[in-house]
Symmetry: C2
Subunit: 254 residues, 2 copies
Amino acid sequence: MPVNHKDIKLKPPENNPDRPGLFDGLDEKSLELILGTSQLQTFDAGRLLIQQGDVPEYLYYVVEGVVKTYRSDSDGKEATIRILRAGETCMDAVIFMGGASPIAVQVVEAAKILMIPEIFIRKYVLANPQFSTNLLRIVTKHYKSALQQLEGVITKTPLQRLGYYLLKLHLEKGHDALDMDLPFKKSLIANQLGMTPESFSRALKEMKSFGIDIDQEHIKMKDAYALCHFCDTDTAFICTDADKQGCDTCPHKN
Amino acid sequence: MPVNHKDIKLKPPENNPDRPGLFDGLDEKSLELILGTSQLQTFDAGRLLIQQGDVPEYLYYVVEGVVKTYRSDSDGKEATIRILRAGETCMDAVIFMGGASPIAVQVVEAAKILMIPEIFIRKYVLANPQFSTNLLRIVTKHYKSALQQLEGVITKTPLQRLGYYLLKLHLEKGHDALDMDLPFKKSLIANQLGMTPESFSRALKEMKSFGIDIDQEHIKMKDAYALCHFCDTDTAFICTDADKQGCDTCPHKN
DNA sequence: CGGTTCCTTGACGCATATCAATCTGTGTGG
DNA sequence: CCACACAGATTGATATGCGTCAAGGAACCG
């Protein structure tokens, strides 16, 4: 059954360029066209939407809930790639890779998902330049985060990876927010950071020496510069306090 | 100075869907338009084309030579992302990320490079659907290989990563070729696989127990199935011998 | 020939995975 | 309301695999 335009909110609250959305800048007509060919479905936690090796038939747009994408090798070990919330998509890139999906997709917390047929996506890229640009922005953003992950796992210690993760969390909230919560289950985050839950737990304790206290999933920073130590050129670029006093290690100070 | 259309070969010999090219399917007029706004330049080995944090002004198309993209963290450790040869591009994705480049680009072996202004790229995506599709295919291919790299570093041992690398090399040549050469300097490959040259060297020796002999950069496989042990769903998909006899571990055998 | 670069080999130590036990919170059923 | 079960998180003890450091060898080029 086709989806009614009014059924779902297509634009998540924050509408900043760092969070490119699939529907950004599209007019009413385009939206209706897309929704008309799509379907909306609800899935329970644990449900596998795509297995590694499947050829995807839909692009998935998360309306509600939490979904993860991951790769697993032959002995069953998993490497979490992304954890998606409302407003994010997956299989967007895979559709253009052609052939079997290199990743699997699983629902983590019960989710409502908009499913857009892959054939429509491919055709619509040819018809609508704005849509192409949206897709390019989304895919390149995934690529970027994969590169950061990759560098982290290769060159950084678990502690540094955690620090970098917290720093990005902090920057998302705005540099004034000294309190935040871990957005997901710890074991899930641990896997995404390429470490075991045990190492994750130990790394959290070590964070105290940087002035960051963790109680359950609550994080309290001593001051706004506690995480500067983990900054790099990417985060410095979006840091509103870049190059200010208080941070000795800012990469902008060259 | 604008580039003459006849100066460079824009299509590398192999024209298969797994090697998407920037100029695939474009007509003469489009090619002339692109080349007219671009410049061709030659660089020596070691030359830095883009540093991490720079905002890219060009998309780079490698006409000749070897170029690598990598990320380095604050203490100078490098993680090689890709190693490009003739017909490949970089900064293609970065242009659409907006802002500073998360990666650096360096010439490894003296290279002739076509430089296309980023502003042109962005505009041309809006004007030419074929070009959008080309870019999407290229970027998603990069993304895919980043994901494979990521999984490898997180879940696999150095030996397995090397095996997977050799397998892909083998499949590129066609499954009949039992002889091949390492395409790059060993230390470069080692870094791309996320290990030290020492570990790489030891892993190469271990390969003997799988029926693969390495002499200098020459690789000799005992038979076409020697590398099957390292296969996964991605490689199985492009393996012409998939599911045949000889390979006990083929992921297609479910 | 000497110098340089790259690769290889060996010895060593540390960091992180692994394994196992305990603890905490949460929900369920009697 | 308590007892129990279960999942997730924590903590501790252990071991091993990879990086590091240092030395030696091989190929290349002047």
